[in-house]
């Protein structure tokens, strides 16, 4: 069991949060969608486990490398 931070790969704005705390999550799942470079850019889990924290709100600006969620790995 380990806590792994999921980071935003781009600078942009949170558009839509697609999952909620407590959800089971797999590598490749979309946690939220950002608006950046005039595109809808998903934040994708790199871990299998449980989504235990969402660190941002919709419409909040985020920067590249910023932690936006935490996954507890199985």
């Amino acid at each position: 069991m380990a806590r792994e931070e999921i980071q935003s790969e781009v600078t942009g704005t949170v558009w839509k949060i697609e999952m909620k705390v407590g959800d089971a999550i797999s590598d490749g799942d979309t946690i939220m969608i950002l608006e950046s470079m005039k595109m809808e850019i998903p934040v994708i889990s790199t871990e299998d486990g449980k989504l235990v924290e969402i660190l941002v709100k919709e419409e909040q600006p985020v920067s590249e490398g910023q932690a936006v969620a935490v996954v507890e790995t199985a």
């Binding site: 005039k38 595109m39 850019i41 998903p42």
Partner: protein, 516 residues
């Protein structure tokens, strides 16, 4: 003494050598679910095909001769999928498979045979590094190390594949980094030296997983191409890699007839790519839909993810796909993606595997971070390598294609033939930015400050970016519907077969440094 006695001695010595580092050590591995070196070789090689080289070799130090069967590194010749290969398996139960005088001679013999005779070479790695005390001091160093001017020279005469199957320090790390393909079992560690030595040297407790565990190499270094859970899966990956490769550089890759049903997925390909230019998708699915069924072998999937590099087959022929993946950063290539693509071009060019570019990106990543990562140099290294490639190159423009990335991704004469989907759009920069550069002042955003002007100018530019202008000036040779992609590729692979040299390229990239 007749033959009977000689045979008895032979059998006794053979049995002792095959007992490796002894029952206790072998049992410990078995209980942990980890294969030993001989089991690994059995799993790798066609049944009964192993001809061992140096079964009776031992340590050169008199005091160690009785307990160093094979001197800790097993090697020889065996067949993989019916083809002859050279194999080396480190036996960690004998002195931690550390490097010493006798086993260095064994490895050198294997390397020489593979290189001069054109045989693939496989390393099953697990080693603790240089053997102590053998390598200590001026005599140890002078006698044992640095005595070959070609040990680290790679001209890629034949493909090398490595599996990292335990603690890898010293030689197994070096040979992994010199290989054309590397796979790692999760839980294994690859580093320059052990966590114990590192902890002593820097006075800080370090654990192996953070020093050189799978996530380090998957996400940060890109030194390893694939990651699996078991020894067997790692060896399967080595076999799968070799199935795409020729036996050596002067041979065409083997043909594997396309499995039935390989033409089906491409019919639904348009559904995989959203028409809206603001929506992303997973390019890996597009590549898989075009490739022969079950032939998709992606390298470095978690490193430089804005690009996809995958060995595959189309119509039975090996090809290397280089594709942008809009799922990550809209497909904008960064320094990692550039490095990954260059190393993949080197691989394909060295072994006569045609390259196929699938293009959908908004340009290269720009900004301070990108410059710190040496973006200009990376972009030009990419171009240096691309223009040295002599295998056939084919480009499929799928959607966005902007700026210098248009050139890097096989645009214009950087591919032998270029086609574009009807959805392709090409220009120097994204139309939204172009409108602001042409019509706006610094600090102004026309989207907000003058929406009417923005809309009109945007529509005009967007129209000029359509594929038809590119087709009109013959910068693309065909415009196709997405469903026609597989047919187009199969036909073009036939057209561009290198007939004059029997499918063999000039290998201008074959001396490019490994693990670049």
């Amino acid at each position: 003494m007749g033959y009977e006695d000689l045979y008895r001695e032979y059998e006794a010595r053979r049995e002792k050598a095959l007992a490796m580092g002894g029952k206790a050590r072998l049992d410990r591995r078995r209980n942990a679910g980890i294969l030993n070196a001989r089991e690994r070789l059995d799993y790798l090689l066609d049944k009964g095909s192993f001809l061992e080289s140096g079964l009776f070799a031992t340590s050169a130090r008199p005091g160690d001769r009785d307990d160093t069967p094979g001197d800790g590194k097993l090697c020889g010749y065996g067949r993989i999928g019916g083809r002859e290969a050279v194999v080396i398996a480190n036996d960690f139960t004998v002195k931690g498979a550390s490097s010493a005088a006798t086993n260095m001679k064994k490895i050198a013999q294997m390397q020489r045979t593979a290189t001069e005779r054109g045989l693939p070479m496989v390393f099953l790695g697990e080693s603790s590094g240089a053997r102590i005390p053998d390598n200590m001091g001026g005599l140890g160093m002078g006698n044992l190390l640095a005595n070959s001017p070609t040990q680290y020279r790679r001209l890629r005469e034949s493909p090398w594949a490595s599996a990292v199957l335990g603690m890898c320090y010293g030689s197994s790390t070096w040979y992994t980094c010199m290989s054309d393909f590397a796979v790692m079992r999760k839980g294994a560690v690859m580093a320059v030296s052990s966590e114990r030595l590192v902890s002593m040297a820097i006075g800080e407790k370090i654990d192996g997983e953070s020093l050189g565990g799978w996530k380090m190499h998957a996400d940060v270094t890109g030194l390893i191409d694939q990651f699996v859970d078991t020894d067997e899966e790692a060896i399967d990956a080595v076999k799968a890699f070799l199935s795409y490769m020729p036996g050596h550089c002067n041979e065409a890759p083997p043909l594997h007839p396309a499995p039935k049903g390989s033409d089906e997925a491409v019919r639904r390909i348009a559904g995989l790519v959203p028409e809206s230019r603001t929506k992303v998708y997973d390019m890996r699915k597009v590549v898989q839909a075009v490739a022969d069924k079950d032939s998709y072998f992606e390298l470095k999937p978690r490193f430089g993810r804005t690009a996809v590099t995958a060995l595959s087959r189309v119509g039975g022929r090996s090809v290397g796909f280089i594709a942008n993946n809009p799922l990550f950063k809209a497909g904008a290539m960064d320094a990692q993606a550039c490095d990954k693509i260059v190393s993949f071009m080197v691989l394909c060019d060295s072994f006569n595997i045609p390259l196929v570019f699938f293009v959908d990106n908004p340009g290269f990543v720009i900004g301070i971070e990108a410059e710190k990562q040496r973006a200009p140099g990376k972009i030009i290294n990419f171009m240096n390598a691309l223009q040295l490639v002599t295998v056939p190159k084919l480009t499929v423009m799928i959607r966005k294609n902007y700026g210098q990335a248009y050139i890097n991704m096989g645009g214009g004469k950087n591919a032998d033939d270029v086609c574009a989907w009807v959805s392709a759009e090409v220009s120097f920069m994204d139309p939204a930015f172009a409108v602001n550069v042409v019509h706006g002042r610094e600090g102004q955003r026309l989207e907000v400050d003058d929406p009417a002007l923005f809309k009109a100018a945007y529509e005009k530019i967007q129209q000029e970016n359509s594929v038809w202008d590119l087709a009109a000036c013959y910068a693309v040779q065909q415009v196709i519907k997405p469903e026609e992609t597989r047919d187009w590729l199969q036909r073009m692979l036939q057209v561009h077969e290198r007939r004059l040299t029997g499918g063999i390229g000039r290998h201008l990239l074959s001396n490019w440094p490994t693990s670049y």
